[in-house]
């Protein structure tokens, strides 16, 4: 469904510290700056990019926008969250923990990146009968 995601940044060096930390905590590698000055991350089959806005205006975060990252375990979600807080992010919503969703239990952790973009780390509990 998703080919890639861009988020806006006002300070790529600051973003790099933050995203290197959270991707590192969830099995990813440090980011790479491409020839266009965009910060690239590949992890778990997806592509995530951080960029200064191409219109030259300041990057702003959405109200209503959240990017949900797949976590392989509750422990990974905790590590992802802790790494983000330690690297310039902000813990938001309830602390990392289990939530009862309409389709089963979810382990959720929420962060804002240094530019205010809202991120979610989600582990979906595998119940009997599911692959």
């Amino acid at each position: 469904m998703f080919s890639h995601m861009f988020v806006g940044s006002n300070d790529l060096a600051r973003s790099r510290v933050f995203y290197d930390a959270i991707f590192g905590a969830s099995g990813g590698k440090p980011g790479v700056i491409d020839s266009k000055g965009r910060l690239f991350y590949t992890n778990k089959g997806g592509l995530f990019l951080v960029t200064l806005p191409i219109d030259g205006q300041a990057a702003t975060h959405a109200n209503g926008g959240t990017i949900g990252f797949a976590m392989d375990s509750p422990e990974e979600a905790d590590a992802w969250h802790a790494a983000g807080v330690a690297a310039g992010g902000t813990s938001i919503e309830d602390p990392p923990g289990w939530r009862n969703g309409s389709t089963g239990r979810l382990y959720l952790a929420y962060l804002r990146d240094p530019d205010g973009n809202k991120l979610c780390g989600m582990y979906r509990e595998v119940t009997q009968g599911q692959a």
Binding site: F2, M5, G45, F48, P53, D55, A59, T60, N63, G64
Partner: protein, 127 residues
């Protein structure tokens, strides 16, 4: 990598019309209505377009783009045309994108709330 994406809307009906039209063209079908928005689910993730949970107006991010997968050049064209016809705004005509990995074929739209989207298909040769 991605489990889900939320995008904000201030007009559930307008956003549902737009996303039903565009998502159908890239094989994701019409959405499932929620009280506060619409969800488009697949085995590879879910897109939720909904009113913000904090009760404040939705606004879009400058710098954010959500990239969607399309199977073919024709699907990109159809996705873009459907979006423009269903209340979206062209943010880039369908064509090959030299800045993308492998010179992929893509197109850009803004949804009725201003959220920036693109759909990209793999490069399989000339159009």
């Amino acid at each position: 990598m991605f489990n889900h994406v939320f995008l904000g809307t201030n007009d559930i009906e307008a956003s549902r019309k737009f996303y039903d039209a565009t998502m159908s063209e890239i094989g994701l079908g019409a959405g499932h209505a929620l009280p506060h928005g619409t969800v488009y689910a697949s085995d590879a993730g879910a897109l939720v377009v909904a009113k913000p949970a904090n009760g404040e107006a939705a606004n879009f991010s400058n710098g954010h783009t959500l990239g969607l997968k399309a199977e073919s050049y024709d699907a990109v064209d159809a996705w873009h045309a459907a979006g423009v016809a269903a209340g979206g705004t062209c943010e880039g005509q369908p064509g090959f994108r030299a800045n993308s990995p492998g010179n992929m074929y893509g197109a850009y739209l803004r949804d009725p709330d201003g959220n920036k989207l693109c759909a990209f298909a793999p490069n399989v040769g000339e159009r």
